[in-house]
Amino acid sequence: MPQNPKKILILSWEILPLMEGGLGVLVRSLVDELRRQGAEVTVLTPHNTDHIDDVISLESGVHKYSKLDTPIPGLTDFVLKEFIPKGKKKYVKWPQLYSKSVVKRTTLYPNNTPIVTRAYAWAVYDWLQENGQDFDVIYGMDWMAIPAHLLLVHHNITIPFYYHINSTEVDRSGGHVHNNDYTARALYELEKKGFYLAEKIAVVSDISKQILVEDYNIPEERIYPIYNDISFEPDKIGFEHLDRGKNVLFMGRVVAQKGLFFLIETAARVLQIDSQVTFIIAGDGSTEGNLLPEIVEHVAKRKLERNIVFTGWVDSESKKQLYKTSQLFVMPSPNEPFGLTALEAIRSGVPTIASETSGFISVVPSTPTFAYYDIEAFANTILHFIQNKDARIDLLKRQQEDLSHHNWPKEVKKLLSLMEVS
């Protein structure tokens, strides 16, 4: 096993600024810190990443393994040409690629493994063949790297494979994998297979560790929490126009995992008592599982349109201003592996409350929590802090104190030492 690993190959679907959720931000921070600590890092992504330094795009390799020339919404410049039989060309839409059995059957992955990840796997394999396998560790980010891992094992490439799990299918499906469609079940099976073969698995929180142990039957000793962090510089300015003095901010994708229905119900309860509170929902839907229509309909149905306002997608600049404009940040997720936005909020001076199933609580234990389904408790917590400035100041002080003990370089060092020990 390698001592002082220096050469790390990271397989990731996104990296800032190529991002949709927290994964891109995490990978950017990880790569920067690993390099700062002397590791030589190569990142392979399936996207066109010409504008990002030192990141290798496998776009052309992925093209080679695709047959269709149909662009996939949400993945600009990314086309499929392999695996889809000609007769099935009508299945060209992104969600359909997930759900229809349009691919050749193979025993390598579970059925319904998304085709783009298979194409990516072959592109990774090719790239390794061409550029040599001189890596101490391969580091896969989330499930998208698993088909590549399985393919490499199949071809007897024995570089130790580590995973960094930002979210599992159990998180994404809100803890109900088996009630979901067969794509979700396929991803769950895929994750089980990949995690079982992994050397070690880094997870972003204690909650994620618990999920891997309980839902995936992975031995506890192979799982290590590496608490997330980001280099976030808060802004001093805020949207003064919106500063009504009682702004409660939610920031994230509008998907089931984020618990927005609970937030709307809680808002209804809060507004019965204090009609001056404004809930700002920042973020839009996602390619998969977009809940925005349902949430908007629900808000209209509950007659809350004046107090719950949607911003749509926000860029990083506006995000900082929204933090500065808000008095309280909420995270009502039923399953939140970590929740980077909570750290951003605390760093921006916004006290934060969260569901007890939010991963970042391991780093900020002073965070007031509630069961995500306990609307009364959630509403009372919001009211307590939104109406009480001293309580907010006190909470923020404690949260920032907690956060000051958290150190990203230390976490990355821990990660590197894990690789050495193995």
């Binding site: 908007v296 309909e297 306002v309 949607f310 506006s318």
Partner: protein
């Protein structure tokens, strides 16, 4: 210059079909964050609206009405003052066709609110009345007639119609209903107006005056939206022209067969069941916007003198019911939003824009 009064005995019998003429604005697609960055961002894309309107006038309105004129098809139109202003400014040939049709008794004019914001009647009748005054003025100026009917989007007994009667002498009120046939009901105002079950007693000066409640069946109502949003606009114009001609002619042949007097049930209060959650939400937002404006600017003149505020508020009050229709998103259209939900969020954000502007004005 002589001014005529159109006085058909029964509007729906003499002019059996009705066409809606109003212009839909193109909106700039912006989010709350855009508004917060710059609350003075324009709400309406005027340049794009002009381009769309030019296409509509040249490919739809002018050929369609020329066709109806040459074929002697009788029809009525629900028209907005804004539409007439645009036509007078840029497409006088269209107004000329309308004048010819009126001269030959082929066209009956039913004024809508100036900006097409007829739903305003449901929550701020006085402002709606001012908008109606705007359209009546344009009809007088450009078409040289004095209208005696107005369009109401929803008929219910709490509408203070006496305000229109005393101000403009309006006695005909026209609505569109989901009925098989159109019709007319004549009744004294005191029988029409009710308040919580009882007749109103405070409108004595006009209570004995008869008013006519007219209704067109929705099958004889043409809003031309399908034509506007079709790729082959010219062909669709021909098709809709023939459809209107057929409906109008057929109705003239079939009328007077039944001796039974038609009637409809008029609800006492506005009824929400026909509106979706999103539409009801938009109504509430409009009410709130009206409240904000009413509170801070008691005189409507204040917003009339402010082009940004006026455009913002009145534009908010029209078009959005179209953008909130789920079915309208199934075809390729010039809708600036991707879904009714996005449209809803847009109007919600515009409300905030209005609030910010008013607060800035105050400080």
């Amino acid at each position: 210059m002589t001014k005529n009064i159109q006085t058909p005995a029964v509007i729906v019998e003499e002019y059996p079909v009705v066409i809606s003429l109003s212009l839909i604005f193109a909106y700039t697609s912006k989010s709350l964050v855009d508004i917060l960055k710059n609350p003075k961002l324009p709400f309406v894309d005027k340049g794009r609206s002009d381009i769309i309107w030019e296409k509509e006038f040249k490919s739809i309105y002018i050929p369609l009405f020329e066709f109806l004129y040459t074929q002697n098809i009788k029809t009525s139109v629900i028209i907005t003052g804004h539409f007439l202003d645009i036509a007078a400014g840029k497409y006088p040939e269209f107004l000329e066709i309308l004048q010819r049709m009126i001269k030959k008794d082929l066209l009956y004019i039913i004024p809508d609110a100036y900006w097409g914001s007829s739903h305003l009647s449901m929550y701020y009748f006085d402002w709606w009345k001012d908008e109606i005054a705007g359209t009546i003025d344009r009809v007088n100026t450009y078409l040289r007639i004095t209208p005696t009917a107005v369009y109401l989007p929803l008929l219910y007994r709490q509408l203070p119609l006496e305000k229109l009667l005393t101000s403009f002498g309006i006695i005909d009120f026209v609505s569109i209903v989901d009925d098989r046939k159109g019709g007319i009901m004549t009744m004294p105002l005191k029988s029409f107006r009710r308040f919580r079950g009882g007749k109103v007693t405070w409108i004595k000066e006009v209570e004995k005056t008869n008013i006519n409640i007219n209704w067109y069946p929705s099958s004889h109502y043409f809003d031309l939206m399908n034509v506007k949003n079709h790729q082959t606009m010219e062909l669709m114009t021909k098709s809709i022209g023939l459809e209107i001609a057929l409906a109008s002619t057929k109705a003239q042949i079939l009328q007077n067969k039944s001796k039974k007097k038609p009637s409809i049930r008029i609800q006492e209060e506005r009824h929400w069941s026909r509106y979706s959650n999103l539409e009801k939400g938009v109504f509430r937002l409009w009410e709130y916007a009206t409240y904000m404006l009413g509170k801070e600017h008691a005189e409507i003149d204040t917003i009339d003198n402010d082009p940004l505020m006026r455009n913002l508020f009145y534009s908010m009050n029209k078009d959005f019911f179209y953008y909130l229709g789920y079915d309208n998103y199934t075809k390729k259209q010039q809708i600036p939003f991707t879904s009714p939900y996005e449209s809803f969020i847009h109007i919600q954000n515009t409300n905030i824009q209005l609030e910010i502007l008013l607060n800035q004005r105050e400080s």
